[in-house]
């Protein structure tokens, strides 16, 4: 055995020399790799290591504030603590993820299962942080901060959040802000936006997003691999957004909204001599604060699917047949194209026959002989049927367009252009020839003609001020955060109503008669304090054969209109009231307008006497 033992051992030892070669070869590979990383690529990796420790953090800029006239603050900011989730820093193993869920469950008021699912979903876009909760309470902040070491994917940031102190007041004008959506982020709608930014989504907030948003600050941080901040290297403070001053009169706005409460509709009040908006209300309204805090899916769906569309600004986006408030346009067109004179008379027997069709006047017995003034005061349909027929659709639609209909007014809010139908329009959309009967309907503000309340207000302002069409405006000035005025607006004169001063005076007198002649459609609800002028309207939604004593469903009830101005001799306000399915304009819309006129003009009188003292 021992002999054999030595032989075997010697034989086995032959394996040692090749081993040395293998060992040297393997170590050479390690050395080569080391040389490659440290010498050849050393500089690249050195730079990478330097970048590794730097993190640039944006400091959100406080959004510019929005004021109404007299310096009433409509939108400001409140510093809030928000809890952010950085998905890329989440642990990938289940146990640790569960720890997050256990920790977050009481804060977010959700079950652990829901949170784990949410966290896993968040990993689809690992690089975009997500708001877990806004407006943390102090105990929550201290609780989370004390555990921040164990949960590096969570971060508390202090962010000035939008706050609307009057809640739903002027909500359609202001609009709202909310966290930028993934879609907006992707499409680059907002330049330089980050996933955690709040952006204006509607109204003034959206229109002036750029001015309001200000410029974000930057903070250069030295961080470790878990994102824990070791120290701040450099900090550039943010520049707050610019402040906006609107022409809105808050007390009038509040009064207008109160008048609309419980109804669907819109009110627009303009200063006729400048076009500035004094009040612009739409009902139902909403509380923009809800969007800032973020709402749950249920509330959002309820708001979105509400059949009353509370988010829609009816004053600029609502399209309605104007009904009789359109008659002054037809009347002016008649005078302008010299189809009629103020003394031209038409006999109304309650109907107007065209071919074998009879177009009815609203007054079954008829008005007898009517001239222009009487036609407007008593709102005789037959007169305007005849006038429409004489004018023809080309001249009528052309004239309406020159009065600002069928095109956007240019107000700083989302709006619709409306439709002024004519031959080309009909051919384009319906592939049908124009029928004469349609002209008749257009002449009394029905048919395919649709307008927005702001267009009506713009037109009546021009009637009040002698024909000058001013662009309705909300913005008076923009100042930067230090108070320096950057931009100041002036009234924008877009054009003139094509009519002579005498012709305009004729119409104005007629509008005065509507409110102040006992036979006028607005007489019964007129203001006793201030002399108003205007036109009522009852716009048919659908034509229904009416039977006596039958109740009509709300949805098919007529829209009630009033458009006018006060005081007649020196107009200070133009007012348009629209109540959806409100029935008769004279009965529903005029009392609202009267209340607003009384409220605003007496307040103004008081202010001036106060100033004089």
């Amino acid at each position: 055995m021992p002999l054999n033992e030595d032989q075997i051992l010697e034989d086995w030892k032959k394996r040692l020399s090749p081993t040395k070669v293998v060992i040297l070869a393997i170590f050479s590979i390690l050395m080569l790799r080391l040389a490659y990383l440290q010498i050849l690529k050393g500089n690249d990796y050195f730079l990478k290591a330097e970048n590794n420790r730097l993190e640039v953090e944006s400091i959100p800029a406080p959004r510019g504030r929005i004021f109404a006239s007299h310096g009433v603050l409509l939108a400001s900011n409140r510093p809030c603590f928000c809890l952010l989730l950085y998905p890329q820093k989440l642990p990938w193993d289940k146990e640790k993820l569960k720890k997050y869920a256990v920790f977050l469950s009481p804060i977010l008021n959700k079950t652990q299962g829901e949170i784990i699912k949410f966290l896993k979903d968040s990993l689809h876009c690992p690089l975009s942080p997500i708001y877990l909760k806004k407006k943390l309470t102090w105990p929550e902040v201290t609780f989370i901060e004390s555990h921040s070491y164990s949960f590096p994917a969570l971060k508390i940031i202090s962010q000035p959040l939008r706050y609307y102190p009057y809640h739903s007041l002027a909500s359609h004008i202001l609009g709202y802000v909310s966290v930028i959506t993934a879609k907006q982020l992707k499409s680059g709608t907002f330049k330089g936006a980050e996933p955690t930014d709040f952006v204006g989504q509607m109204g003034i907030e959206r229109t002036f997003q750029k001015a309001l948003s200000g410029e974000k600050g930057k903070r250069y941080l030295e961080v470790d691999a878990l994102g824990r901040i070791l120290r701040t290297l450099k900090e550039y403070p943010p520049t707050p957004g610019d402040n906006l001053y609107l022409s809105l009169d808050v007390s009038l706005q509040r009064k207008a909204e109160a008048e609309l409460h419980g109804k669907k509709g819109a009110i627009v009040v303009l200063d006729p001599s400048t076009g500035y908006v004094l009040a612009l209300a739409s009902s139902p309204k909403f509380d923009p604060n809800l969007f800032v805090k973020g709402m749950d899916q249920k509330t959002w769906q309820r708001l979105l699917k509400n059949p009353d569309h509370p988010l829609q600004n009816r004053a600029t986006l609502g399209l309605y047949p104007p009904g009789s408030v359109f008659k002054p346009v037809t009347a002016l067109a008649g005078l302008y194209y010299k189809v009629i004179t103020p003394s031209t008379t038409v006999f109304c027997n309650g109907g107007f026959q065209l071919g074998n069709r009879i177009f009815r006047c609203w007054k079954p017995g008829g008005h007898g002989w009517v001239n222009l003034k009487k036609a407007i005061i008593e709102s005789c349909d037959v007169y305007f049927y005849q006038l429409g027929l004489w004018l023809g659709i080309d001249r009528l639609s052309n004239y309406a367009f020159k009065c600002g209909f069928g095109q956007k007014t240019g107000i700083e809010l989302a709006e619709k252009a409306g439709i002024v139908p004519n031959r080309t329009w009909k051919w384009k959309y319906m592939r049908r020839r124009w029928q004469k009967g349609e002209t008749l309907n257009i002449a009394i503000g029905q048919g395919a003609l649709v307008v927005t309340p702001i267009q009506i207000a713009q037109f009546f302002a021009a009637l009040a001020n002698g024909g000058k069409i001013y662009q309705p405006q909300l913005l008076v000035k923009i100042t930067n955060y230090k108070g320096k005025v950057i931009k100041e607006t002036t009234p924008i004169l877009k054009g003139k109503i094509p009519a002579s001063p005498r012709q305009l005076q004729e119409i104005k007198k007629a509008l005065d008669g509507v409110m102040n002649y006992p036979s006028g459609t607005g007489y019964r609800s007129r203001s006793l304090k201030f002399r108003m002028a205007g036109k009522t309207g009852t716009a048919q939604v659908v034509s229904l054969p009416k039977k006596k004593g039958e109740k009509i469903a709300d949805l098919y009830k007529d829209h009630a209109w009033f458009a006018g101005f006060a005081p007649v001799d020196k107009p200070q306000m133009v007012i348009v009231v629209l109540i959806e399915h409100g029935g008769h304009g004279g009965a529903t819309a005029v009392p609202i307008a009267r209340d607003l006129v009384n409220f605003y003009l007496s307040k103004k009188a008081k202010d001036t006497t106060f100033k004089k003292k």
Binding site: I8, T19, I23, L30, L34, Q38, I39, K48, K89, A225
Partner: protein
Amino acid sequence: MKSKENFFKVTILLIGIVVIGLLNLYSATHQLGTKSILFKKQICWTFIGFIGFFLFYFILDYRKIHLYAYHIYFSIISLLAAVLVISPKIMGAKRWLSVGMITLQPSELAKLTIVIIIARFFSLSETKQQGVKSFLMAGLLTLIPFIFIVLEPDLGTAFLLLILFASLCYFSKVQSKILIGCILIALILSPFVWHYGLRSYQKARIIAFVSPQKDPYGMGYHVTQSAIAIGSGKLWGKGFLKGTQTQLRFLPEHYTDFIFSVFAEEWGFIGCTGLIILYLGIIFSGLKICQKTTDRFGYLLAAGITSMLFWQTVINIAMALGLLPVVGVPLPFMSYGGSAVLTNFIALGILTNIGDKKLIASKK
């Protein structure tokens, strides 16, 4: 005449590595808050390790190990079983046994045990080459601890056991037919293992190794950050305590698996070359001792211990360099870990004991 030639050489090399290792561990842990205690613990373990080293060199005769090989083997097996039964899960794995203040990691001790038991088994064979029967028997001896460790799970260590077994097969001249057959079977089985045997995180590590850029914040993170740490050290390094990757904690597990990256960042190419030369010195001393052994058990034991140190060093460094997937194999004398320190010190004690005992033996 008792020569202590090997002892002195290895001791000097060992002290060199241990000093570097401790300094490096200090750098890696001094900013870790509660974890900076790891450095103090490691000093204690190093102290105990040196005692073990001296004990095994001076007092023990390695031939006693031959006698008690199976005792050692079965006690380690029972420790491994105990781990699976009683130890709590830490970070998703059961690897540690707590005895009072000390936590033991039996899988580390198993590395040396495998070397001892296989060396004993093969040294008793009566033929020049190991046949199928003895190969299968030895394979079974390896497989038992292997399975226990796979169940923990600690795939790195389990895999290392297989490599040690293969190394000893090589040194004891197992028929090459058998080795080739084994490799073929392994290749055929590997897709099945991938599908049914590996856990998702283990797959992720391998995928991350193949293409780290796919998942820079997930598993690829380790690989990328380690490369940045090593590369940014450049020729001269950033200096002691000045490695930003380490100090800012971009490197995960940097006091165990990625300890080499910490060193490479702070000491650069020059420092790494020095460190690798020290390791190479120990490994070549081991081979020299192998060359001079007079009995087969001593030869295989020395060769096995040398292989153990070599493979751990190479696998760990290659992993840090991104040449191998991330597996939990510590760098001898550098990584934090009591059981590993103890095992490696004792292994070196036995190695030097073999190297210097031969003369005493011939005197008898």
